[in-house]
């Protein structure tokens, strides 16, 4: 590992538990590089996660880190941010953690526009429990709990976040890492609730069941299917079917939650 990045890791905890070719390590590396590029104060960064493979990431990262219960990272993070708005809060979460068991917390954190950067390690599967389908698993894909093919329709997390009120919404992939780092930087600099949906790969559970058992095959799929927001805007719905649209979807400046609460305090204490 590059020397300047070492201070961001708990090097005695590495190597990580993730499988060979798992994209989680790539996203974690991108997060750390973005933090380094922005020169954030390490002792004021707080990284919160839920449960699952991705939620192990904070354990390797040398910040104030909190590994919570399944789906609840945003609830804990909201408490931390409310109590101490000086802290920079990141939530690292998986697609199941964020959109299934944690779905309600997700939409409400977005609605409040609380200043938390949520990065979804979206590998379309429950990895920690061995490959069950998640709300992000594509229709017809196979999983241990969808042995005949998945009949659930999957979420578009970016659309969900935007309609719930998130004020920065973007999608990156583990293939397009330089772009991913830039998107993370933008999300971290954004004041308000930012969502970054990162298309990730799980060769072990998703790949093996869906004829892409090598990480290379999965990466190739991302490379082939990715289109930029700009190109997508010129494509028909049919042409977009199965495609991964990457880039920034939404950015707006809306009063941030803890700043609004500071005004409540002012009012309660006699100001206007």
């Amino acid at each position: 590992m590059r020397k300047e990045l070492q201070k961001y890791f708990r090097n005695d905890k590495l190597p990580h538990i993730w499988c060979p070719g798992c994209g989680h390590g790539i996203i974690t590396g991108a997060v750390v590089r973005a933090i380094d590029n922005l020169k954030l104060n390490q002792s004021k960064v707080c990284i919160v996660s839920g449960i699952g493979c991705s939620s192990r990431a904070p354990g390797y990262m040398n910040f104030n880190t909190l590994h919570t219960t399944h789906g609840r990272a945003l609830a804990f993070a909201t408490g931390i941010k409310m109590a101490n708005p000086d802290l920079k809060i990141l939530v690292l979460t998986g697609d199941g953690d964020c959109s299934a068991i944690g779905g309600n917390h997700f939409i409400h954190a977005a609605r409040r526009n609380i200043d938390i950067t949520t990065i979804v390690f979206n590998n379309s599967i429950y990895g920690m429990t061995g490959g069950q389908y998640s709300p992000m698993t594509p229709k017809a894909a196979f999983a241990t709990t969808a042995p005949y093919g998945n009949i659930d329709r999957n979420f578009d997390l970016c659309k969900l976040a935007q309609s719930a009120g998130a004020t920065y919404v973007a999608r990156g992939t583990v293939f397009h890492v330089p772009q991913l780092i830039k998107l993370i930087e933008k999300a971290l600099k954004h004041k308000g609730f930012s969502l970054l949906d990162v298309v990730d790969i799980c060769p072990t559970y998703f790949g093996r069941r869906n004829k892409m058992s090598s990480p290379i095959a999965m990466m190739n799929k991302i490379r082939e299917m990715s289109v930029t927001v700009r190109s997508a805007s010129k494509m028909s719905e049919e042409e977009l079917s199965g495609k991964i649209v990457i880039g920034e979807f939404h950015e707006e400046r809306v009063p941030e939650y803890t700043e609004e609460y500071a005004k409540v305090i002012e009012k309660a204490q006699g100001g206007n």
Partner: protein, 68 residues
């Protein structure tokens, strides 16, 4: 355009042999030796660092300055 003093460091203990660096190097700098990356064409390297950024295990450093 190639740069002469580019060095690539591979941390063999960290490498989990996923093969991503080998497969996706735009200049085919790497070959495989039992799944592990070996440098076969250093002069082609453009210092794009994609292999380093895509390595899930932080096993690659591209560039001169940090390499022992």
């Amino acid at each position: 355009m190639t740069q002469k003093n580019i060095k690539i460091y591979i941390d063999e203990k960290a490498c989990k042999k996923c093969g991503l660096c080998i497969a996706f190097c735009p200049k085919k700098v790497y070959g495989s030796e039992g799944g592990k990356p070996v440098i076969v064409n250093l002069s082609a390297c453009t210092d794009c660092k994609l292999c380093e950024l895509r390595c899930p295990d932080y096993a690659i450093i591209v560039g001169g300055e940090n390499i022992e």
